[in-house]
């Protein structure tokens, strides 16, 4: 079970549902809109949508949300790290990079967000920058030709920036 205590602004969700005329065929779009607000899908928001829309239920909304990799059920960090594990990145060593990040941030499979809420980590299939493999994206910034050492330095920089604030 993933818990969430985020306070939900149900009026904001109502607006999203109105935009899509409460039609169940727009469920994915609605969930995308909700995720834009909260950076993840809070459980309460999914339950709310499930009870408000005809022929949907909390369980069916949850089913859709957990089927697609694009949806996160956990709050994302301030820095969203995407490690590319497409073929090119994989053969050029994306796994050691991923493990270095996990070790540094004390994350493991199934635990996606660091305890301080600063970082969240996921692997993606291709970022379309195979020539720069292995690639890591942190928020909108692309970091090419990563190694364990290089990603460590980048994370240290971000951490010290955060502490300096």
């Amino acid at each position: 079970m993933t818990g969430s205590s985020t306070a939900i602004d149900f009026r904001a969700i109502d607006k999203i549902l109105e935009k899509y005329e409460y039609k169940k065929s727009y469920l994915i779009a609605m969930l995308q809109n909700v995720q834009e607000i909260y950076k993840y899908l809070p459980e309460d928001a999914m339950t709310y949508i499930g009870e408000k829309i005809d022929d949907l239920s909390p369980a069916t909304v949850y089913g859709v949300a957990t089927f697609y990799a694009q949806f996160s059920l956990e709050p994302k960090g301030k820095y969203e790290i995407k490690v590319c594990d497409g073929t090119a990145c994989h053969v050029r060593g994306s796994m050691p990079v991923l493990n270095a990040i996990r070790n540094k941030l004390n994350l493991k499979e199934g635990k996606l967000t660091s305890d301080d809420g600063l970082f969240s980590l996921e692997t993606v299939s291709c970022l379309g920058a195979c020539g720069l493999a292995p690639v890591v994206m942190i928020n909108e910034k692309v970091h090419p030709q990563m190694t364990s050492d290089a990603i460590s330095i980048i994370l240290d920089t971000l951490l010290s920036e955060e502490r300096g604030q």
Partner: protein, 588 residues
């Protein structure tokens, strides 16, 4: 040959077909069969398990393997059921399913009545060339009605379809690929989900993933305790289904045999819930007539089905004023037993009295646990609720030869029943029984032709207009909550022109309840059980609740008249808003 009669070939035999929805039905009609986990004739075809694969050869010579549950029958095709290839596919499917299964058959509630076990045996699966699973998920014992064990789930989706096609989609698929699970929203325990406890999920489950929360051992403990006096009641639908567990035909009326079996097991007193179905009619018909004549909240909703009551409390708490305040027959007899049995039997005291009921229904377990059904000391009025399946198991373990058992009568003073009480088990039965007594209340005369054919049958929706000598009454009868929801919308939109709404949550009514003997692959069984009750009605001594001598006596001695102060105290109940337990907008 006429146009609508076409033929195809199964194992070389020419077989006619007309409007069968799929090839599997044609195969079965021809007296043959293929294994399946996910196909249930009353639910949408899903094609998930791939066990029903057959080899199909088209007239042009093209051959293919197809799942027979999803393939429409086509004229001229040649179908082979058991080829080297189809058998290999089925074996592989079984091995893969078992690789992901906990394989704890010996201690499983469905052992001996499990389709996975059965096919593994039939297909000679003696070894599984895959590693044994070692990470098990927790089993959900939270619900009084249903136990969910994800380690036994084969993801056939029958429960998910039953839940969404009959009720309101509490169970759904979550996650993807090898991590897929069937569960309520976010893996919530069933008890705190919006589950109404109907048990249709367990009724369609081919394995032990969804089973009935059994109270058998607790009841045995009371029976074998010489200090305790155990009083039992059993519901209308139990009598026409339990025989199936002992080789009798569905629909055979086993009332007298059940009385005898319960006595043989060691229950001290046996009463009949049919008696309290009559009592319910006395109260509910009076309540209905009063509401009609004094401008009370209409349409009146029947309140016998605890799954329906919970649904209304969860989804439309603003409409609970429509619900009849009458307790269900189980609840009424539970209260009457507590109040009066110690007065009739001097060896029974409030302290040593244990009250048990046998129901076709898993939601009755939940009902007995409702706050409103508890006594002042916090204990349940009805201590234990067993389903028909559980009673069958008890009879077997007591070594009773049910089939050749000589019948016995129920005990006095709550053992007699009328045909009106017995038809409570079929969708439409409560309305028909109520009409027989309401006619008497409104006109002062006896209804001559007691059978109201338009109210009969297990189909989902019936609308009937009655003329009580000038007083016109319109009744709507639905089964499944999916259909009930449509009625609630009609009412909210002001489009409902009926004064009585009868709802049963299970398709066809209680005869097809979640606690009845399993009947996965035969949708005719519920018709036969219904017929069994109609026959009981037609052949009984009395057919109207107000003619039941035990009922007349109860009012004369204790309750005075229907809806009296005393009957309100004992036989009526209240409802509450349950939204806050499960939903978000409750807090708005």
């Amino acid at each position: 040959m006429t146009e609508d009669k076409k033929t195809l070939f199964i194992e070389g035999k020419e077989v006619e077909f007309t409007n069968e929805p799929n090839l599997l039905e044609v195969i079965r009609k021809a007296g043959m069969n293929v294994p399946t986990f996910c196909y249930r004739p009353d639910l949408t075809s899903f094609g998930a398990c791939r066990m029903c694969v057959v080899e199909v050869e088209y007239p042009n010579g093209r051959k293919m393997i197809n799942s027979s549950c999803t393939m429409p029958p086509e004229a001229g095709i040649k179908v082979k059921l058991n080829t080297e290839k189809t058998r290999r596919i089925r074996k592989t499917v079984l091995q893969l399913l078992l690789a992901n299964h906990d394989r704890k058959c010996l201690t499983c509630a469905r052992s001996g009545d499990c389709e996975l076990q059965q096919y593994a045996e039939e297909y000679g699966i003696t070894d599984i060339p895959y590693a044994e699973k070692d990470d098990f998920l927790p089993v959900d014992h939270s619900s009084p009605s249903i136990v969910r064990d994800p380690n036994k789930c084969i993801l056939c989706g029958a429960c998910v379809r039953a839940c969404s096609e009959y009720q309101h989609s509490v169970l759904g698929f979550a996650n993807r690929g090898s991590r897929t699970l069937v569960q309520p929203m976010n893996g919530k325990p069933l008890a705190t989900s919006e589950c109404v406890n109907c048990g249709q999920c367990a009724a369609v489950c081919p394995t032990g993933a969804l089973t009935i929360n059994s109270q058998i051992e607790k009841v045995w403990k009371e029976i074998t305790n010489p200090e305790k006096k155990v009083v039992v009641q059993f519901a209308p639908s139990v009598r026409v289904a339990i025989g199936e567990m002992f080789g009798l035909e569905p629909g055979v009326n086993s009332t007298a045999k059940i009385n005898a079996a319960l006595k043989a097991i060691g229950f001290d007193l046996v009463f009949d819930t049919n008696f309290s179905a009559d009592l319910t009619i006395m109260e509910e018909a009076q309540e209905f007539v009063t509401r009609v004549t004094t401008g009370g909240t209409l349409p009146l909703f029947t309140s016998c089905c605890p799954a329906w009551v919970r649904y209304l409390e969860l989804e439309h708490p603003d409409m609970t004023a429509h619900l009849s305040t009458c307790k269900s027959p189980q609840g009424m007899l539970g209260a009457v037993i507590r109040e009066y049995v110690p007065q009739y039997y001097e060896d029974i005291t409030p302290e040593n009295l244990v009250s048990v009921s046998i129901m076709p229904c898993t939601a009755k377990k939940y009902e007995a646990n409702r706050e409103q059904f508890k006594m002042e000391n916090g204990k349940q009025e009805i201590d234990y609720v067993l389903t028909t399946q559980e009673l069958g198991r008890m009879i077997k373990s007591a070594g009773i030869d049910f089939k050749s058992l000589e019948g016995a009568p129920a005990d006095s003073p709550f053992g007699k029943y009328t045909g009106a009480g017995t038809i409570f088990g079929v969708s439409g039965g409560v309305a028909e029984a109520a009409a027989r007594t309401a006619y008497n209340l409104v006109t002062g005369e006896e209804l001559k032709d007691v059978v109201i054919n338009d109210m009969r049958g297990t189909h989902r929706v019936k609308t009937v207009e009655l003329d009580l000598k000038g007083t016109k009454i319109k009744v709507k009868i639905v089964n499944t909550l999916k259909e009930a929801e449509k009625c609630l919308r009609e009412i909210k939109e002001g489009k409902a022109d009926y004064q009585l709404l009868e709802v049963m949550a299970c398709p066809g009514g209680c005869i097809n309840g979640g606690g009845q003997p399993l009947s996965h692959n035969d949708s005719n069984i519920k018709e036969e059980r219904a017929q069994g009750l109609y026959t009981d009605d037609a052949t009984g001594q009395w057919r109207k609740s107000h003619e039941n001598p035990d009922i007349i006596e109860l009012y004369k001695k204790h309750l005075e008249k229907p809806n009296s102060h005393k009957s309100h105290e004992l036989l009526h109940t209240t409802y509450s808003d349950k939204r806050k337990d499960c939903y978000i907008s409750a807090g708005e």
